[in-house]
């Protein structure tokens, strides 16, 4: 994937005392840390530790109960929609529309310049150009991941969030993903992703944070090793 088509203003991600409560249960408790612009950060933790919730808050899909989210370095008037790009568990695109129609839809909604060109360009970058007129319903798991990423990148975000992006991908898919993320990160995009265990993708990480029951329990910034954070508690 080549991402030389745009310049990315470096933007970080800061969580300040984030709480998220669902009924009586706290999914996140006083989560505070900052990811520097240009880092490739990994969020690790068991299922139910709060990774997805934190990412959805970062993606501005969910509002925190308390606390503040900010993007240091993001300048006003930066290109297009300044929200982060978000790749979740679902593709977040329409099964009954074609790949092309989906990207055009999101490009137009986010007021991207020359939406048709942008959509076409992204389809080529993620390797789906040949299948652009096929309904997303017919796509394999790997292809669905690619269209999801294309959708997330449509507005040239300076921060990309991915929630367990390697799930269900075959080794070829994982290699493609690792290469794409490496390219994006090199071009200046801040990448934050949640992962389980070590892989080709976790090898890209310049930073890692571990969550457990909604609390931050380890951070490479404060001395923990990447290996420990990723493999902690798997024994």
């Amino acid at each position: 994937m080549t991402v030389t088509s745009f310049t990315i203003p470096p933007t970080g991600l800061r969580f300040e005392n984030i709480d998220k409560r669902y009924g009586g249960r706290y999914a996140l408790r006083r989560v505070s840390f900052e990811i520097e612009a240009g880092e490739c950060a990994v969020l690790a933790g068991r299922n139910g530790s709060g990774k997805t919730t934190l990412l959805r808050i970062a993606g501005q899909i969910v509002r925190p109960t308390h606390g503040r989210l900010s993007f240091p370095g993001r300048t006003a008037g930066s290109d297009g929609n300044s929200r982060p790009g978000y790749v979740g568990h679902s593709t977040m695109v329409y099964d009954e529309l074609t790949a092309e129609e989906n990207l055009l839809l999101f490009a137009k909604l986010q007021k991207v310049e020359s939406p048709a060109e942008r959509a076409e360009g992204l389809l080529r970058e993620v390797g789906l150009f040949e299948r652009r007129t096929s309904l997303v319903r017919t796509f394999s798991r790997g292809m669905r991941q690619r269209i999801a990423i294309a959708r997330a990148l449509i507005h040239r975000p300076s921060v990309l969030l991915l929630d367990e992006p390697a799930t269900g991908l075959d080794p070829l898919g994982i290699t493609w993903l690792a290469n794409s993320l490496r390219e994006l990160n090199r071009a200046g995009c801040t990448v934050v992703m949640s992962l389980h265990g070590e892989s080709e993708i976790s090898a890209l990480a310049t930073r890692a944070v571990r969550l457990d029951a909604g609390n931050v329990i380890a951070d490479t910034k404060t001395g923990a090793s990447l290996h420990d954070i990723l493999m902690f508690g798997s024994a």
Binding site: N81, R83, S90, M92, K108, Q110
Partner: protein, 224 residues
């Protein structure tokens, strides 16, 4: 204007999705026909009675059909979490509602217009003489149903037993639309001009009130 252009883009998405499969329209048309026929079996009206009760049954059938047709409105945005991507993409969440309620109104009207000749034949009502007024009543009534229905389907999509819940929430709320639309429709077939003026004004007021409420509170309906 951003709201207008976003609404247009989303509306064309809604229409494209529906016209590709046409499942919603087909099932709704068939449903209304079945309901109308069943009504006449159970009541067996005379010609005079048909003319008097027909419009009421027509609007009842439209309401039942609408409460089924509105089910997938927000449910279909849940399967791939497209509601989240829409919310992220648009600056004003009201455009999501506007697009859906416009699409729903259109689908309802198409259904009603397809079904009108059958209604005219089964119930022996002269629909042609006051056709333009009839269309206006169908439009304002369908608009009211869509506005309330779109809002409530956003609520029921987040609850359990949503298939039963939506009609339960929607039908009492739409009582004014049912009562006024049916009365005006009867008067159209009996050619009473005074009734229709007031009734149509009332439907317009209902539509404006609920559209305003949706505009004020819509974003909270979509909150996660």
């Amino acid at each position: 204007m951003s709201l207008f252009s976003n609404t247009t883009v989303l509306l064309s998405k809604e229409l494209r999705t529906e016209f590709r499969s046409r499942e919603l329209l087909t099932t709704t048309v068939v449903f209304i026909l079945v309901v109308l026929i069943l009504f006449s079996f159970s009541i067996s009206p005379t010609t005079e009675e048909s003319r008097e009760f027909g419009p009421g049954l027509l609007w009842l059938a439209i309401l039942f059909a609408a409460s089924l047709m509105l089910q997938p409105c927000f449910l279909r945005e849940q399967s791939n979490d497209t509601l989240s991507s829409l919310r992220l993409a648009v600056s004003d969440p009201f455009s999501i509602f506007l697009a859906k309620l416009a699409a729903n109104t259109l689908f309802l009207m198409v259904t009603e217009l397809i079904m009108l000749p059958f209604f005219a034949v089964f119930y022996n009502v002269p629909v042609l003489p006051e056709f333009s007024w009839l269309t206006l009543v169908l439009f304002l009534g369908s608009l009211g149903i869509s506005i309330a229905g779109t809002a409530l389907s956003a609520i029921s999509a987040q609850a359990r037993m949503r298939e039963l819940l939506l009609p339960l929430l929607l039908l009492p709320l739409l009582t004014p639309v049912l009562v006024v639309s049916a009365t005006v429709t009867v008067s159209l077939f009996d050619r009473e001009p005074i009734v229709k003026g007031k009734g149509i004004a009332f439907l317009a007021v209902f539509d404006v009130v609920f559209l305003t409420a949706l505009w004020l509170f819509g974003e909270y309906l979509l909150e996660e």
